[in-house]
Assembly symmetry: C2
Homo-oligomer: 230 residues x 2
Amino acid sequence: MASPLPVTERTRHRRLREQGSTDRQDLDDILRAGLICHLGVIVEGDPMVVPTVYGLDGDTVYLHGSVASRSLVAAPRTTVCVTVTHLDGLVLARSVFEHAVNYRSAMIYGVPRLVTDAAEKLAGLRALSEHLAPGQWDYARRPNKKELAKTTLLALSLAESSVKIRTGPPDDGDSPDAALPIWAGVLPLAASWQSPEPDPVLPAGIPLPPHIAALAHQRAGWPRLHPGQP
Amino acid sequence: MASPLPVTERTRHRRLREQGSTDRQDLDDILRAGLICHLGVIVEGDPMVVPTVYGLDGDTVYLHGSVASRSLVAAPRTTVCVTVTHLDGLVLARSVFEHAVNYRSAMIYGVPRLVTDAAEKLAGLRALSEHLAPGQWDYARRPNKKELAKTTLLALSLAESSVKIRTGPPDDGDSPDAALPIWAGVLPLAASWQSPEPDPVLPAGIPLPPHIAALAHQRAGWPRLHPGQP
């Protein structure tokens, strides 16, 4: 099932190689579990790191925003780096030096393509909407021409991607420090949806739609990748 | 109490101005509530966005890593952008176009300084350790000379920072769409610590230290900024 990710000069794992994954399934799992990414783009010579939502469709990640967005205007002219990170816990070791975090992250490099085709633009925005809140595209009012014209959509290929994962206990359990009377382990962190908060001006009698109720009852955010973990 | 943040060409809020804050207290709150940042740095001409932990000390954010880290080697030679983001929920509007996320984010621009002074290096690493897990610095084994030599510490001034915050219900409650029979509101997201998981090789009889127990019992991660929210 798992196909390897191609390795380039930018995505080759140089250090902590045990944390690098070249498994396409890991990449997909991390991207599917995420809600926001951090888009890195060079704007007027300086790096700019912008949190933004994203969507997925096959081998493409979609990013959107206002046509006036500086980061989105700059992006299709240059290589960007899109990073999605899940923080899974603090790794508390015997020594300060061996402290770490458990995490899963994906980095995607590439020059994004400005989507101008009307049908792809609608499909990309649908992918974005459905990634965040499955079911909303068929429930909410879809974008009209004026709104589409105000929106920039970028498509970025997953072709050049890099995955890093750290799981498990501290690394100093087999070192001389393991004899110290110091507690060591992991303090896991998890995200979960809370109760939906209706808009205060919502008219009476409009029920919470089933797809949002289902989302809210998921222990969502970022499920763990590895079986056997709680 | 709240002093304004200085505004530069890079930190001036251009769009969605209602989301921009120039309140220093907001910046401090966002940074204190965060566990990881995304460091954006230009490496061999391309942007690279790396998730990493950080520490705080007054007007300085500290970043650390291996001396071999490509991002940390590149950083002191060039402007970087450090972004800390808290995702607080999905904003489900009547129209797809008005969908949004509630979030708090801080962006810090600057050229980091490589910390070479031994005392500052130790103090910076302490700030980093205490930011993530208060109490660990006095509990765990501190870094020795060899470990310090393997660690790069960078200091970045908060002088050029930008804050954006979105809270509250969707923006289309006063638009014609508000008459549509579509549920609208917010699906909040929160992070919380889970039960500590002792290292499987931890010898019997080493208790969980009180400072970690206290951290685990906090509803931690990223507390909401605004009173009145759950």
